[in-house]
Symmetry: C2
Subunit: 312 residues, 2 copies
């Protein structure tokens, strides 16, 4: 177990919603906070609301030309502008100028990015990796203070791959993936949970900035290890759907032989993996075009060192 990590206070914080324009909790909350910005203020930090993808939010679609939340790679951000750039590439570069540049000393201290999923993910906290103590302590703070939400930590980036999400522009980033909620719909229950977890995260930042020490801890994380496509016929069309016994069972252990797909003629298809694994993002609407029926995650326990503000 390493010793205490000391960090500079976090003063420049952004709350992004509408990164996907049909994930309505974030769109709705950010529009609300743009009018009532004092609700994002704490003693030591005033978070800035950002409507990440105005054009997609206006149209009520995930994206206008390209998935914005895959556009923040170093390759895309550093490429010269081109008249053929999709809207979202231009917008990613703009956000990178506003809140970054990514990887620089000038970058924002933290971006909180708000998402919804049609999957039964509950309150899911997303980090890119497990090495950032601020991000991990923010998750722990939320888990400790909102145990009835049963928040889980999902780690999206595989080792050796570049990051691509909007929150990677800042020094620290946290995604909030709340579901189930249909695209294009605001549900009051999900909205209230999202508002509460963001308020809780700002409280955490405020405590950190004021000098509170956060002790070391261990926690379970769910780390992306693969993905499963739908069965398809020779023409590429989906030939079987998520099995009723898998539907809505995100974060429930899946064993080899458990049923995962069902054809229209009633044939059940079992999971053929070699070991038990945790399925997540089961039947997420936006992943059909990405050829993902669900994502596989391994449950990995990690140790996080104590955290405290740097005192110069």
């Amino acid at each position: 177990m390493p010793g205490t990590v000391y960090v500079d206070p976090l003063h420049r914080v952004a709350v992004a919603g509408g990164t996907h324009g049909n994930e309505m909790s974030g769109v709705f909350l950010v529009k609300h906070w743009l009018k009532h910005s004092s609700q994002l203020e704490r003693d030591t930090v005033s978070a800035v609301p950002l409507l990440s993808n105005p054009k997609a939010s206006e149209k009520g679609v995930r994206y206008y030309e390209k998935d914005l939340n895959r556009c923040f790679t170093l390759d895309i951000l550093s490429a010269p502008d081109s008249p053929d750039d999709p809207y979202e590439v231009l917008r990613a570069k703009e956000i990178n100028r506003l809140l970054g540049p990514r990887g620089s000393a000038n970058a924002y201290d933290m971006i909180l990015d708000l998402h919804n999923t049609t999957s039964n993910m509950g309150v899911c906290l997303i980090v890119s990796r497990v090495h950032n103590a601020v991000e991990m302590h923010a998750c722990q703070y939320i888990q400790t203070h909102l145990p009835h939400y049963n928040p889980r930590i999902y780690v999206y980036a595989k080792p050796g791959t570049d990051l691509y999400s909007v929150d990677s522009v800042a020094k620290c980033g946290l995604g909030f993936e709340l579901g189930p909620q249909p695209q294009g719909v605001v549900r009051a229950d999900i909205l209230q949970k999202m508002k509460t977890v963001i308020e809780m995260t700002l409280d955490f930042i405020n405590h950190l900035n004021k000098g509170m020490e956060f002790p070391a801890f261990e926690t379970d994380t769910y780390q992306c290890s693969g993905q499963v496509d739908f069965p398809r016929s020779s023409d590429g069309e989906i030939s079987a759907v998520i099995h009723p016994s898998l539907q809505d069972k995100d974060f429930s252990l899946l064993h080899p032989g458990d049923l995962i797909f069902l054809t229209l003629d009633g044939q059940s298809i079992p999971y053929s993996g070699e070991k038990p694994i945790y399925p997540v993002f089961i039947n997420e609407a936006a992943y059909y075009e990405k050829k993902i029926a669900f994502i596989l995650a391994e449950k990995i326990r990690v140790s996080v060192p104590a955290l405290r503000r740097q005192t110069h």
Copy 2:
């Protein structure tokens, strides 16, 4: 109670899916039936599967330029072609040539049109009006044979208004509105229910064609009587969402004073109508742009005469 209605047998029947391209049960079923058309065959009828809006289904959106299921008015269908016609107007005219023309002797005998909703509508059977004995007996047959689905009959057209839905092209039409299901998602449970109700409807047509007599009956219908928009601030933005106590309560009696909306600051807004009413299509994603938070329906009991095939 009127006497028996005698009708010609129904031989030309179409099953339409993808009228809205992101309502996936119908898209999925029609694509399946296009490959396995024998599943739509009965002794006396072979129903034809039709992907109503191929372009919207391909893109996974409700519509490409205009809501197809509002394009089948006599005004639109009879207007001369124009180079400015939206894709869906052209497609409506094409479907009208294929399965109509609407109101003519050449028109198809029946169109069954498959829809999904994000609202908790369960298995909802939609007729335009209550005067068509074939449509009403089809509903009764489904209700009698699938009581565990608790199918309800919704009447969409107000008196004196023109029809606009795809099934109005045929002599008889029936819409199937199954939910809750997010846009862009296929859920196995909803898919199985939709497949079963369509199979049941084809059985009904087959029995009718073969001479079975269907006795007169009375049934409850839910008839559209109005709609309620979300509360909005002066800039037109939605300022309150569906109240948790109303969410998912489609077809449950709403009383004056019951809470219907909730603001982000926790203020509850009651229903200010003068009499109890049945809310339906509560929080349907596609109705946000139509400025509909939910639809109001009156429960009206109707008498339906006996039905039998014409014997010449």
